[in-house]
């Protein structure tokens, strides 16, 4: 009896540094556990093989490719316009951003000038989509830590953004709105007012979300000091986007390699400062995204104010043949750098199209930082990278 009591006391005294503490106490037999591809806490179909000793992970082997659809091969078989709908399906949570990056790559390859109004519309759409995907992230991060409410709230606000997209292009998820040389249609009547109103509403709601989730003590206890990603490791693994900024690196392609009309708009780049734990922990990565929503609201408001009149689409032939050559164009997506490497051999189809995505590299940095972690913390770590599987597998 007394011995049992002692054990119980010990187990309750282990609070935060359980991983290192328990590793000393118990050394058992290592076993391999399959986590996925169908698992309650996965972001889609990702299989992680965990080598564990009890609750402690000693190694992680991510198995990807369960959603490999061969987009790069499909691109070679279609002409440049026809591939646009497939870019929606690279990262379906931020389809507008993928459209934008692809359109930019082909425009650079074929030297197409885009009208100013189209550029502004593109930025408005891309930033609204960034807000939408970060709202989903807030919800799933809540789910990962055991909170059900945030996802309902996140989706509620996201639906408002989808309404805006739907009145513009008729789709809720896979928009195919941007075209090579502009966008498919002009903004509908009432869009600008509705978008402004949405920005006002969301700004108030963000305060509410931060009170509800971000600064919730239970949430902070689960997130702070968990899954720390040092800056040099992040750069070595090619981690980009909010995950890199969470590690304290001020790096954003919208500022560092400006494209579209971002140089004309004012915004800040939030970075992780380790306010509540260490720099580069899960809470930092989470908070960078929440602060990015604020900045995106700023960008949308400015772009709506500055929206010039004019055409929304340059004249581009249905089938056009860019001159021989190759480009590598990258854009800042909600999940990191989305790069398109396009090789043209002078025909109507791309000779080779490589899609470099943020999630692919971000996921590759998860195994080295997961050693010695508990399984429950691993779920948090993986969740805080906000990977989307079709972006990894393509």
């Amino acid at each position: 009896m007394s011995e049992k009591l002692k054990l119980d006391n010990r187990s309750t005294s282990i609070v935060k540094d359980a991983a290192s503490h328990m590793a000393e106490v118990v050394v058992g037999e290592e076993m391999l556990i399959n986590m996925g591809p169908q698992h309650p806490s996965t972001h889609g179909v990702l299989n992680k093989v965990l080598k564990t000793d009890g609750e402690i992970i000693s190694e992680v082997f991510p198995q990807i490719g369960y959603l490999h659809r061969g987009l790069e091969k499909i691109a070679e078989k279609l002409n440049y316009h026809q591939f646009m709908p497939y870019t929606d399906r690279i990262d379906y949570l931020a389809a507008m951003n993928c459209n934008l990056a692809y359109a930019m790559a082909i425009e650079k390859l074929a030297a197409i000038e885009v009208p100013k109004r189209a550029e502004y519309i593109r930025v408005i759409m891309a930033e609204l989509n960034r807000i939408a995907t970060h709202l989903v992230f807030m919800g799933t991060m809540g789910l990962e830590t055991g909170a059900w409410t945030p996802i309902v709230y996140g989706f509620r606000e996201r639906e408002e953004i989808l309404d805006l997209f739907e009145m513009t292009c008729g789709q809720r998820l896979t928009y195919n709105y941007m075209r090579i040389g502009g966008v498919s249609d002009d903004l509908p009547n009432g869009f600008v007012d509705k978008a402004r109103k949405f920005c006002d509403v969301l700004e108030k709601k963000l305060v509410e979300y931060n009170n509800l989730l971000s600064y919730n003590q239970i949430f902070i206890d689960r997130m702070a000091k968990v899954g720390v990603l040092p800056a040099d490791l992040a750069v070595d693994y090619g981690v980009t986007g909010p995950a890199l900024r969470g590690s304290g690196v001020k790096w954003d392609l919208r500022k560092n390699e400006p494209y579209s009309v971002y140089p004309e708009l004012e915004f800040d780049i939030p970075v992780g400062k380790g306010e509540l734990g260490k720099v580069g922990d899960a809470w930092d990565r989470y908070m960078v995204r929440m602060r990015e929503i604020e900045q995106s609201i700023r960008i949308v408001r400015q772009a709506l104010d500055k929206l010039p009149a004019g055409d929304v689409r340059a004249k581009v032939g249905r089938i056009f043949k860019p001159a021989q050559g190759e480009v590598y164009v990258r854009a800042e997506n909600p999940r990191g750098e989305l790069g398109f490497y396009v090789v043209s051999d002078g025909s109507a189809n791309p000779y080779r199209l490589k899609i470099r995505t943020g999630s692919f590299n971000n996921l590759s940095a998860v195994p080295p930082i997961s050693k010695g972690m508990m399984i429950s913390d691993f779920v948090i770590t993986l969740g805080s990278f906000d990977v989307v599987l079709p972006e990894i597998d393509r």
């Binding site: 490719g65 090619g238 690196v249 790096w251 050559g325 490497y341 590299n361 590759s364």
Partner: protein
Amino acid sequence: MTANVIFEKLRARFGEGIEFQDNSLLPFIKVRPDSIRKVADILRNNPDLGFDSLMCLTAVDNPANFTIVYFLFSMKHQHKVTLKVETPKDNPNVPTVEKIWSAANWFEREVYDLFGVKFDGHSNLVRIMLPDDWEGYPLRKDYQYPATYRGLPL
């Protein structure tokens, strides 16, 4: 630093065996397969060059050969450079740069999976996207789609 200046610096350190092509959209430096690891080492560790990030690594199936393309970037100096390595079609083989940039590990596995290019010295060169028992390398231009996979029509 522009690609031109980087090339001059590299040639001063490395000598002959590399060539520069000033393609207006994407200037690149062509490197022989046997010297890629040395070049990569200089690019990464020379403080003036400081290419600490491998943005992207991929391959192109050209009619004459496979071309491996490396997109490098320096966070510190904010400059970038593209490297190209050509390898013959009958026995595609390139030394790995996994030890120099960790990001190369998965990139090289992907190229191996989809193009069948082998990377010498890679720690875990197995298929990453497709199942292990898949036959052929789909991104090759001469790839024939199989009729079935495990009894299911393709």
